[in-house]
């Protein structure tokens, strides 16, 4: 696809692929890095790590709850384990294990959750996890990240290795445009980025919705509306300052996420704003509903998570 502004060809890659590639890269430098899967290495894209470091890849079979405990035990043996599965199973099925065997003892385990949100596509609602951000951010001490593209996904994995403590990173199945490929790009856990400046409305987005928000901002500009877009990769701990400062400027905030509007980025932003700068907020996301089968593109269109969908909802909110 072509970039709206520069008309430059933009490459697309799924963040799950970035995850696998980052693991291989960091695995070469750090012998303590180990990767666990629950019979989904081919899908979570950790297969490349398995191929490069067969002795450091542990397939636990279809048993995510046990995998969570094994990862905890490995961390207590000095390893840096990345446990990988679909978000539905890593955060959903194994929630209590993540809470009690990783969160409560605050262990150095990294959870690589792929196939998050509705862009899982054809598999349908049973596999489309729109609740993982909400679940994970309730666990004290858990870092929760949702990278927007290849560059950010790789940076997030590296930051997770360098950080001591539990980290949850959410990756997608579908290929998404690379939007952070610039020389001055820097990543820091807990820091958001203003990716487009504006004065009339703030759009706070995460994951695939960052690209949608940028597209929407371009469309809004054509209507004379100046939208500021903030990319939030780290949902917990949240960069409250960047959001509050923008809200003070624009007075209106929209959140956009491929997740339920209950408990996710939108809720986190509202939590931050209500403390010190109450501001009207429109939450774009899955509106308390399950997904369904379909192509990723058809689903983001239907559930209004693409640029057009975000644009329309911002317009309604501002009207």
């Amino acid at each position: 696809m072509a970039d709206i502004k520069t008309n430059k060809v933009v490459s697309k890659i799924a963040t799950r692929e970035s995850y696998g590639n980052a693991l291989v890269e960091i695995g070469k430098e750090n012998p303590d890095l180990v990767v666990l899967d629950a019979d989904l290495a081919a899908a979570t894209k950790t297969g490349v790590f398995k191929k490069a470091f067969p002795d450091r890849h542990i397939d636990c079979g279809i048993a995510e709850c046990n995998m969570t405990g094994v990862a905890a035990g490995l961390s207590l043996s000095g390893k840096i384990p990345f446990m990988s599965s679909f978000a539905m199973f890593a955060a959903g099925r194994a929630f209590e294990q993540v809470r009690n065997s990783i969160g409560y003892p605050h262990l150095n385990v990294k959870i690589g959750a792929t196939h998050a949100g509705i862009t899982v596509g054809e598999d349908g609602a049973s596999h489309q996890c729109n609740e993982d951000i909400a679940l994970m951010r309730t666990i004290p001490g858990m870092v929760v990240m949702c990278p927007a593209d290849d560059v950010e996904a790789k940076a997030a994995v590296r930051a997770a290795v360098e950080y001591e403590g539990p980290v949850y990173i959410r990756f997608g199945r579908a290929a998404v445009p690379v939007i952070n490929d610039r020389p001055d790009y820097k990543f820091e856990i807990g820091k958001g980025t203003v990716v487009r400046e504006g004065t009339d409305v703030t759009i706070v987005a995460t994951g695939i919705c960052v690209d949608s928000a940028l597209g929407a901002a371009e469309m809004l500009a054509q209507d004379g509306i100046s939208a500021e877009v903030i990319n939030i990769c780290t949902i917990k701990p949240l960069d409250e300052e960047i959001i509050i400062n923008s809200a003070k400027k624009t007075g209106k905030v929209v959140t956009a996420e491929e997740h339920s509007v209950i408990g996710g980025l939108g809720s986190a932003v509202c939590d931050a704003l209500c403390k010190s700068h109450p501001t009207p907020v429109c939450k774009i996301g899955m509106q308390d509903t399950f997904g369904e089968s379909g192509s990723a593109a058809a689903l983001v269109e239907k559930y209004k998570l693409d640029a057009k969908g975000v644009y329309e909802q911002v317009k309604t909110f501002l009207a």
């Binding site: 450091r56 709850c65 046990n66």
Partner: protein, 277 residues
């Protein structure tokens, strides 16, 4: 240690259990008392540990998968010198490091936080695998309740341990036969326990008296000598062992003795102490 010394120590551990639970006015004495001899043997003879250096890298690890019997673990650790025995009366109290279920961040000697049943054995598997991956020769022990093995995760972990041939892992099932709602065979029978672990590629040892130190020692020696597969010791024990009115009585799974009952319990244990003297 001699058997007599171990017996005396186990009796002290039992006093600490009863004292802690009585002071807390809550907790789980039954399954703590049934496992007191196992705890004592592990920490006073079997395991390579150092109370002065609780986190030394090559130590053997213990995961209390049946975390509700924390009073037993705490009393053993205190008697072993990890922290003062006098602190046992702070059990379950606000501000105490002796939480209702073990918290590794606050208690010296606790290798893993636990309490939610079925999870400790998975963590023990991870520790044992980590040792193998690092070519370290420490062993990992985990104690499960016989009711706990009704949790499906126990069998996920067992499949993993058998498949990975974790011969540095020793699983102990405290088979006292009682769980909160009654006899384990009445609630949802996990029997035959030995055949189940065998089917998951474990070497299984039936320890027919988990209060006989000769037999306990023989079981752990056999486990240590077993190569190429993990070991499960099915420890046949008596719930509430050592306190007359608690023995074999399901009511004492998770209840604290009142002042009168406490006096009787301590008198029972004092009598045992005198017999051993």
């Amino acid at each position: 240690m001699t058997n007599l010394e171990l017996q005396k120590m186990a009796n002290e551990v039992r006093k600490g259990i009863v004292t802690g639970v009585h002071a807390a006015k809550a907790g789980h004495p039954g399954g703590s008392l049934s496992a007191a001899d196992i705890y004592t043997f592990l920490y006073f003879e079997e395991m390579n540990i150092d109370p002065k250096d609780p986190k030394k890298a090559d130590r053997d690890r213990f995961v209390l998968s049946k975390g509700h019997t924390a009073p037993g673990l705490y009393s053993t650790l205190a008697n072993r010198g990890y922290f003062p025995v006098e602190d046992l009366v702070t059990l379950r109290k606000l501000g105490s490091y002796l939480q209702g279920h073990p918290c590794m961040q606050h208690v010296p000697g606790v290798d893993m936080s636990s309490g939610s049943l079925g999870q400790g054995i998975s963590v023990a598997c991870g520790m044992a695998l980590g040792a193998k991956m690092s070519n370290a020769d420490y062993r990992v022990y985990t104690l499960l309740g016989d009711g706990e093995i009704e949790e499906g995760q126990v069998w996920e972990a067992s499949m993993f341990a058998g498949h990975r041939k974790l011969d540095n892992l020793c699983v102990i099932v405290d088979n006292n036969g009682l769980q909160i709602d009654g006899k384990i065979e009445d609630v949802c029978s996990p029997y035959p326990i030995d055949k189940k672990f065998e089917a998951f590629n474990f070497h299984v040892i039936n320890l027919d008296d988990a209060h006989d130190f000769d037999k306990i020692r023989a079981a752990f020696q056999e486990a240590r000598a077993t190569k190429g597969m993990p070991t499960a010791i099915i420890a046949h024990s008596l719930k509430g062992k050592g306190v007359s009115f608690m023995e074999g009585n399901v009511d004492w799974h998770g209840k604290a003795p009142n002042d009168e009952e406490y006096a009787v319990a301590m008198a029972d244990l004092e009598k045992i102490a005198q017999q051993l003297a």
